[in-house]
């Protein structure tokens, strides 16, 4: 079986608030024969604060990392975080213009050519590994688990830069989850913003936007939400009670990284999936799933007798 190999950019939150996204990504990639090579001495891409200050500065913070990837001879770097991804891709896109590239390089010790491709972990799992391989690797299907897939605002937008999936109705995560055996509900707010990084300075804004997402997932009867973004996960999980206070409706919606669900279905050891790092425990949803599997088996057996 031919494996894949990529440079890997974990992103700062992977060292802290989204450590379970990082560890589950690594475990899932390993299980699917995707080799990850951490970008040597990678640094922060600057996230939103950098591009709100200046586009050359923002690109330089990304380009320092792209230059590190170039030095290793790899052509593609992947990252789990959509915010890192946007910055890396936008920097590469703008550096196609020599004048912009020169300004970026004037801030750097090591110049960056800008020809490294950045992709999301979701994209390579969907496009390079593929649904067939994923489905064939399932050991414990997520039968009976109703999942609302939530992509966040910038995984697929703007389409000219992100060049992946559909910008209004992305399907990659839906289809991966379905390949794992989950029941995927058509989540209409897939690409709506959750409040981004305003949790600290304007938690009222985040509470309002996140409660809309939670309300919708609840109304669709979802057992869990699946996310692909550290900020989305934090707003929906850690700040779920703030959202409850805002809307006056009590939520208890587990919000997992899609890689945690993948790991579970692929039989990855639980220690690497970090379910204990989630504020709203998915234990009840998983128990219900196990119970429904047992019930199904019994009916199957019953009908056979």
């Amino acid at each position: 079986m031919r494996g894949h190999s990529f440079a890997y950019y974990p992103g700062c939150s992977g060292l802290g608030t989204s450590m379970e996204y990082d560890s589950s990504t690594r475990a899932v990639c390993k299980a699917l024969f995707v080799e990850l090579h951490d970008v040597p001495d990678w640094s922060c891409c600057g996230s939103s604060p950098a591009h709100t200050v200046d586009h050359v500065l923002s690109a330089a913070l990304s380009a320092r990392n792209l230059a590190k990837v170039e030095s290793t001879g790899r052509e593609t770097v992947i990252t789990p975080c959509p915010s890192c991804l946007t910055n890396l891709r936008t920097a590469g896109h703008r550096m196609e213009k020599p004048e912009f590239r020169a300004r970026v390089n004037s801030l750097l010790d090591t110049p960056c050519k800008g020809d490294v491709q950045a992709k999301s972990v979701l994209q390579i799992l969907f496009e390079d590994v593929g649904l067939e391989m994923i489905a064939a690797s399932v050991q414990k299907p997520l039968k009976g688990l109703k999942v609302a897939p939530y992509y966040g605002c910038i995984m697929n937008r703007p389409p000219e830069i992100m060049q992946f999936d559909d910008h209004e109705n992305p399907m990659a995560m839906d289809r991966i989850l379905a390949a794992l055996g989950a029941e995927v509900v058509p989540f209409p707010l897939k690409v709506e913003c959750c409040g981004a990084s305003y949790g600290v300075a304007r938690k009222d804004v985040v509470a309002r936007l996140s409660s809309r997402l939670l309300d919708t997932a609840v109304s669709l009867g979802a057992d869990v939400m699946a996310t692909a973004c550290p900020l989305c996960q934090m707003n929906l999980d850690l700040r779920q009670e703030q959202a409850s206070q805002h809307s006056g409706r009590a939520y208890s919606m587990p919000v997992l990284y899609f890689t945690q669900l993948m790991g579970m279905a692929l039989g990855v050891a639980e220690a690497e999936l970090g379910f204990d790092k989630l504020c709203v425990s998915p234990a009840r949803a998983f128990e219900a799933m196990a119970a429904s599997t047992v019930a199904n088996k019994q009916t199957e057996r019953g009908s056979r007798v």
Binding site: C12, S13, L15, G16, T17, M19, D41, W42, S43, C44, G46, S47, S48, P49, A50, H51, T52, V53, D54, H55, V56, L57, A60, L61, R64, S106, L107, L108, D109, T110, C153, I154, R157, P158, P159, H167, E168, V191, E192, C193, G195, A196, S197, Y198, G199, V200, A201, R202, K203, V205, R208, L209, L238, R239, E241, Q242, D276, K277, C279
Partner: protein, 187 residues
């Protein structure tokens, strides 16, 4: 929006600057309102995004650069993706906040302090140190951590690292920021 005397306050340089820095042709905006319709932050904005586009066309520099909306835009890219004239509206919002920052306007001070503390953390450690960033934010805004209710939820999870994870190339990082300032950039 309050009334403005358009002809008396039209600033042609401002229009040219926004166009050059954003590489967008603002004249293409015909006020269809798609950007505002999709903008998840309209409820919190003092001026909706389509009206910001109109104000820039009309060269209303002061009114534009002092609005709160610039500090609340999350760069969700909904406006850019849905503009029928392919205007990169989110990029214009970015360019406007660069200009507002350089001119010293920041009506949503807490947001600016948060962003500044974030970048200082990057400059100092090479990677964001979340606990340190929060401490700095609290010290500067004088707000006791407004997320106090979250402490018992997050601390036992061991997710907030108590020490930074500095990069080896700390000097390279410092030089990026220093050169940016030397070239006239506003932090």
């Amino acid at each position: 929006m309050d009334g403005v005397n358009m002809s008396a306050s039209f600033d042609a340089d401002f229009v040219a600057q926004v166009q050059a820095a954003s590489e967008q042709n603002l004249a293409l905006c015909y006020q269809c309102g798609n950007c505002t319709a999709g903008c998840p932050y309209t409820f919190a904005y003092d001026i909706p995004v389509n009206q910001i586009m109109r104000l820039v066309q009309a060269g209303q520099k002061h009114k534009t650069l002092t609005c709160k909306s610039l500090w609340l835009c999350a760069t969700c890219e909904s406006c850019t993706t849905r503009c029928p004239n392919d205007i990169d509206v989110a990029r214009i919002m970015d360019v406007l906040r660069h200009m507002a920052r350089c001119e010293g306007h920041a009506p949503e001070r807490a947001v600016k302090v948060f962003w500044d503390s974030f970048l200082e953390s990057v400059r100092k450690h090479g990677r964001v140190f979340e606990a340190g960033l929060l401490a700095k934010y609290v010290a500067r805004t004088g707000r006791v951590w407004t997320d106090f209710d979250l402490a018992p939820r997050i601390i036992p999870k061991g997710k907030l690292a108590l020490k930074p994870h500095p990069v080896k190339g700390l000097q390279e990082m410092e030089k990026i920021f220093k050169r940016f300032e030397e070239q006239g950039g506003c932090l």
